[in-house]
Structures are given as structure tokens and as C-alpha cells.
């Protein structure tokens, strides 16, 4: 079992677990674990390539996604006392069925070119693409602001791991730019989520349905 395969499996499992949990703290912890896995993957790639800049990218990723993001989200939960997330749109058994279907989705022949990019990492790419599809479903299925934000961040993690496994990762400078963008995104989303709670007294997006045609 290679380190890449282990990382892809761990990434896939964290996304599945995010679907199961209803506690906000657990969801954030799962995101932190997922990001830690991505940071390890980036560090491993950096060490293999002998690049100090890429190692810096791994460290910045670790700092932003596993330290800053959980701190900001955790502070928001404590401040607003929203320890449990809102209900999902679908019940768990239906979610499990959809997740099973999404796990198989990347095996469609129409999506084969996405895996053919790097045949030596086909299994890892399948797992990453499944995790990506399941993350998108997590974003759609969850009703609360925090889970939706975590859904977006999870999608971003899956795309990063796809880029690494397929050998399409960017230059170190651009990767730092992307992590910086993620950091600003997290700050903006935390501020906006706090305002949502202040205005609506809940993080449930179902209460935000005033804008219609």
C-alpha cells in the first residue's frame, strides 16, 4: 500500500464521515483532518521533488487549513452557541444510497479521460473524484451555513489532491496564491456567517427565502 493510496483513502473517508456527523465541532475536526492529509501529500511531493518552495506551500496549507480555519470556525460556534448543525435536506439512508452512487460515478466511461491523465495513480484518482462528487453532494444536501462553507472547502481539498495525483499541480508561487485566497475566503465566510446568525438567529439557510420573483 503506497502513501498516495493511503492518503486518497483517508480523504475519501473524511468526506463520508462529514455526511454522517450532525455536530459542527466534529465537522470542523473532520475538515482539519482532511486538510492535514492534503498537507502531508503536498509535503511528500515537495520532498520527492526536493523543492523548498513546495515544502513552504505544504506548511502554509497546514497553517491555514488545519490551524486558522478550525480556530475561526470554532470561535464562531462558541460565540453563537451553534454546537449542532441544522438538518440535512435528505435522511441518512437516502444519503447513503446517493453516496454509493456517487462513489461509482467516476467509473463512467465519459469521465475516463480524467483518470487517463495519470494511469499509474488510477485508483487514487478514482477515489479523489468520488470524494469530489460526494463533497459537492454534501454542499447541496446541508442546510446550515457552516456545513455549506465546509462543503466548499472540502471540494477545494479534493481538487488539490486531484491536481497532485494527476501531476497537474501549479508552480509553488501560484499554489501560495491559491492558499492565500482560501485563507481570505475563510475569513470572509466566517464574518458573513456571523452576520447571518445575528440577523436570522439561526445558521439554517432555509430561513433565507425572502428573495423570490
Amino acid at each position: 500500500m503506497t502513501i498516495q493510496f493511503t492518503i486518497a483513502c483517508a480523504l475519501f473517508l473524511t468526506v463520508i464521515c462529514m455526511h454522517v456527523t450532525r455536530k459542527n465541532y466534529t465537522a470542523i475536526a473532520l475538515y482539519a483532518v482532511q486538510s492535514f492529509i492534503i498537507a502531508i501529500l503536498l509535503a511528500y511531493t515537495a520532498l520527492s521533488a526536493g523543492s523548498r518552495l513546495l515544502l513552504a506551500v505544504a506548511l502554509i496549507t497546514l497553517l491555514v487549513k488545519t490551524i486558522i480555519a478550525p480556530i475561526l470556525f470554532g470561535r464562531m460556534i462558541r460565540k453563537n452557541k451553534t454546537f449542532f448543525s441544522a438538518q440535512a435536506h435528505l435522511d441518512l439512508p437516502i444519503v447513503a444510497l446517493i453516496v454509493a452512487a456517487l462513489t461509482l460515478l467516476p467509473h463512467l466511461s465519459a469521465l475516463a479521460p480524467l483518470v487517463a491523465i495519470a494511469p499509474s495513480f488510477a485508483t487514487e484518482l478514482y477515489l479523489t473524484l468520488s470524494a469530489l462528487c460526494i463533497s459537492i453532494f454534501f454542499l447541496i444536501n446541508r442546510r446550515d451555513v457552516l456545513s455549506q462553507a465546509l462543503g466548499i472547502l472540502s471540494i477545494e481539498n479534493c481538487i488539490v489532491s486531484y491536481a497532485v495525483f494527476s501531476g497537474l499541480e501549479q508552480s509553488a508561487i501560484l499554489q501560495i496564491g491559491i492558499v492565500n485566497d482560501v485563507c481570505i475566503w475563510i475569513i470572509v465566510v466566517t464574518m458573513l456567517a456571523s452576520r447571518v446568525y445575528k440577523k436570522f438567529d439561526t445558521l439554517d439557510t432555509n430561513t433565507m427565502q425572502q428573495l423570490t420573483d
Binding site: G167, L168, W185
Partner: protein, 481 residues
């Protein structure tokens, strides 16, 4: 080279000054100075790009013909919006709707918004373009939530979430294109490198990548069915911001899609894959928007849906190909000028009537003669009546598609008729009639009157005469696409 740096650095410097200052005059005039410098630099750079070819700086910036068109739109409309914002926010402050803290936030974010749009157009690297477009999302979230009302917050949240998701899908599509040039490379992959190596890309992968890019950036363009954030965001943002969102930002995202179309067409050969997708999304956007416009009750939402319709028209033009591409680029310029004028005029209407509900607004021509005239003239332009350029370019788009896609053109014409009826019905109610007694007279400052007049004059001028610089830029860009 100096102009290149002025173009990009002027709004960034204005951003830093606004960040450090609390004085209103400093905020207003620094932003205005930044916008003037950017517009001046854009106007001076455009002839160089048109007649001497693309300009490059450092390794991440290149202005080609397509980029120059985007930059000209951003800088000129940006200047009008900045000038109008000064008057608009002064009026809002006078009425007690806006605090000095909000004014500072507004100018800080407006500068970074304009800078990000210029960088997106001038970027030589697809990932930098993506980063800049993502930056526009982050800069505008708090501008959409500017009034901090529950509906504004709802619009801002939808905007952030849907656009972030869309842009991530666009990012995924973008990295797939990198398979043309690198595997684990450390260098920056530029648009020109992607084009040069497009033949190496697996056609099946290119098709998938373009689909992701079209859905991803198409979300930012407001193409249906990914358009749901647009009417909410454009109607809840302050009018000058709506003008920039609708008049400029949508075009920049569309230009990015067009750049990827060029790469995909080389990789995929003459299968018409990208054309079919653009036509499908374009037509769907036109039809959806036309029907909703017919029953619209809010004039800012009406304008927002009109943007969806017009983005659909441009997508049709790019999809039809040939002369349709030149027509689509021309239409992009006319629409940008028209829509930004309409949105800033709607700001003055909102200041006067205090509502965005169509049924509660009537007699604009009697109440606000100048703004009413500008609004009326730009309504004629947006519904595609002569002598405005929108009419000729729209006809050209339809004429190009008529031979190969008669059913699409027929369906588009039906939708245009519905949109025409809807628009005319709502706006005649708003424009004509007696001055309402309930509306208090507003003393119009030049800041509120001159920017829309300037934009309308430019629209009228370009409808009659297109300068050689612009003609060359359009011709070069159309040849590339």
C-alpha cells in the same frame, strides 16, 4: 511599460490609501484619481495593443486584443461608477442610510474590485485570471451586503456560495487544460503556451475541461441555469456596484470562457462542440430571462434578468462563429455601456422614489427630466432599437446564425419579443405619467447627473462611429477566436 504599471497599480494604490484613511474627501478623491489614471492608461495602451500587438510585463501580464477590450470597459465604466458613487453615497449619507464606516468600506472594496477586474483581463496566466476573478467575488460580497438588511445578507450569501462553487468547478476545468503542457512543472503556464500546445491535449479531456469551465465561469457570467444568484445580488447591491457587476464583471468571465474555447477548438478539431454548448446555454438563458422579465415587479431585478438575456445573446454570437464573433464582441461593448448607464440611472430613481418596486414608480420623465431622458434612451438601446449599436450587432448575430441554426434563431426571436414586451410594459409605466405628490424633490449634484450622461454619449458615439483602434482590436480578437 509605465502605462502598464499605472493601469494596474493606480487602483491598488488607491485601495491602500483608502485602507489607511478615514477622511471622506481622501477616500473619494483618491479613488477618483486612481480611476482617472487607470482610464487614461487604458486609453493610451489600447492603440499600442491594436497596432503593435500584445504588450507584456513581468511574466504574468499580457494585454492582447481581447484583454484590451475588457480593460477599456473596466477602466471607462469604472471611472463613471466611481464618480457616480461619490454623489450617490453623499446623498445616502445625507438621508442617514449610510454611516462613515460604510463609506470607507465601500471605497476600499470598490478599488480592490476594479483592480481585480483589470488584473483578470491583463493576466497572461489562466490560474492568475482565476485568482483575480475569485478576488472579485470576495471583494463584492460585502458590497452586496452593503445595506446589511436580511434580504441583502441572503443575496450576499447566495452570491458567495454559488460563485465560489462555480469558480471551483472552473478551477478544476482550468487545471485539466494544463495537461497540454506540463506534468509536475514548476513554471507558469500562460494562455499563449496553452494555445501553442493545444494540439497535444486529448480531445476527450478537452471536451470535459471545457464543460467544467463553461459551467464554472458560466456561473459567474450568469448563464442559465447557473444564474440564480445574479438577480438577487444585482438588485440588492448599491446601484453603482450593480453597474460594475452587470456591465463589466459578467463580460470578464465571458472573455475567460472564450479564451478556453479557443484552446478547446484547436484540441478538438472542427466538431463544433464548444459552439453547440455555447448556443445551448445562450438560448436557454435568453428564454428563461425573457419569461421572468415579463412578470417582474422590481426594476433592478428586471435589469438583472436583462443582463442574463444579454449574456445569452453574446454566448449565441460566440457559438454561431464567423461574423457572429465580431458581432458578439461589439454587442459586449454596447451592452456594457447600456447596462451600466441603466443601473446608475436606477440608483438616482431609487434615491428619488425610495423604492425598487415598479408599481410604485411612475412619472420619471416629469420628476427627473435628465435622468428620465437617459433612462429612456438606454431602455431603447437595451431592447435593441435603432439607432443604437445593440440593434445592429444583435441583428448581425441573428443573421450569422440563421443559415446553420434557423430553429435557434427563431426561438431566440420569440424570446426577444417576449422580453421586448415585458421591458416596454414595465418601463412605460415607470417613465410616463404625472409627477407623484409623494416624491420629494431631490437636488441633483453633478456627480449624479454627469456620469450617466457621459456613458450615454459614449454609447451614442460608438453606435455611429467606431474608432480605428477599436475596429482593429475587434478584428484581431475575432480572428483569434
Amino acid at each position: 511599460m509605465t502605462m502598464f504599471f499605472i493601469l494596474i497599480l493606480a487602483p491598488l494604490l488607491a485601495f491602500f490609501v483608502c485602507l489607511l484613511s478615514y477622511r471622506r474627501e481622501v477616500l473619494e478623491y483618491t479613488t477618483l484619481a486612481g480611476a482617472v489614471m487607470s482610464a487614461g492608461a487604458a486609453l493610451m495602451l489600447a492603440p499600442s495593443v491594436a497596432f503593435s500587438g500584445p504588450l507584456s510585463a513581468l511574466s504574468i501580464f499580457t494585454i492582447d486584443s481581447l484583454g484590451a477590450i475588457g480593460i477599456l470597459l473596466t477602466a471607462i465604466i469604472g471611472l463613471a461608477v466611481v464618480a457616480y458613487s461619490i454623489g450617490y453615497l453623499r446623498e445616502e449619507t445625507k438621508r442617514g442610510f449610510v454611516t462613515s464606516h460604510q463609506v470607507r468600506l465601500y471605497f476600499v472594496l470598490l478599488n480592490i474590485f476594479i483592480a481585480a477586474m483589470i488584473i483578470a483581463c491583463a493576466s497572461a496566466v489562466p490560474i492568475v485570471t482565476w485568482l483575480a476573478i475569485e478576488a472579485t467575488t470576495l471583494a463584492t460580497v460585502f458590497l452586496i451586503n452593503f445595506y446589511n438588511k436580511p434580504t441583502a445578507l441572503e443575496a450576499a450569501w447566495k452570491y458567495l456560495l454559488i460563485n465560489s462553487f462555480g469558480l471551483l468547478i472552473g478551477f478544476f476545468g482550468t487545471i485539466l487544460y494544463l495537461a497540454t503542457t506540463i506534468h509536475g512543472g514548476a513554471s507558469l503556464v500562460t494562455w499563449s503556451a496553452l494555445l501553442a500546445h493545444a494540439g497535444n491535449l486529448d480531445p476527450a479531456l478537452a471536451r470535459l475541461a471545457f464543460l467544467f469551465v463553461l459551467i464554472g465561469y458560466g456561473t459567474k457570467v450568469g448563464l442559465a441555469p447557473m444564474h440564480t444568484w445574479l438577480p438577487d445580488a444585482h438588485s440588492k447591491a448599491p446601484a453603482p456596484i450593480s453597474a460594475l457587476l452587470s456591465g463589466v464583471l459578467l463580460n470578464i468571465a465571458l472573455i475567460t470562457i472564450v479564451r478556453f474555447k479557443m484552446i478547446t477548438d484547436i484540441a478538438n478539431g472542427a466538431t463544433g462542440y464548444t459552439q453547440k454548448l455555447l448556443i445551448a446555454f445562450g438560448l436557454f438563458s435568453i428564454i428563461i430571462a425573457a419569461f421572468i422579465m415579463l412578470t417582474q415587479k422590481n426594476y433592478k431585478r428586471l435589469l438583472a434578468y436583462s443582463s442574463i438575456e444579454n449574456m445569452g445573446i453574446m454566448a449565441l454570437g460566440f457559438g454561431f462563429g464567423g461574423v457572429g464573433i465580431t458581432a458578439a464582441l461589439l454587442y459586449m461593448i454596447y451592452h456594457a455601456l447600456t447596462k451600466s448607464t441603466l443601473f446608475i440611472s436606477s440608483g438616482t430613481i431609487f434615491l428619488t422614489y425610495g423604492t425598487t418596486k415598479i408599481e410604485r414608480v411612475h412619472g420619471i420623465l416629469a420628476t427627473l427630466p435628465t435622468t428620465g431622458f437617459v433612462f429612456f434612451a438606454t431602455i431603447l438601446s437595451i431592447i435593441g432599437l435603432p439607432p443604437f449599436g445593440t440593434f445592429f450587432s444583435k441583428i448581425l448575430i441573428l443573421a450569422t446564425g440563421f443559415g446553420a441554426h434557423p430553429i435557434v434563431v427563431a426561438a431566440a426571436l420569440c424570446a426577444f419579443t417576449i422580453a421586448f414586451i415585458g421591458f416596454l410594459r414595465h418601463t412605460t409605466h415607470m417613465l410616463f405619467g404625472a409627477k407623484p405628490d409623494t416624491v420629494a424633490p431631490v437636488v441633483m449634484s453633478p456627480w449624479l447627473i454627469l456620469p450617466p450622461i457621459a456613458l450615454l454619449s459614449l454609447l451614442a458615439f460608438l453606435s455611429i462611429y467606431i474608432p480605428s483602434t477599436l475596429t482593429t482590436l475587434l478584428a484581431t480578437a475575432a480572428t483569434q477566436i
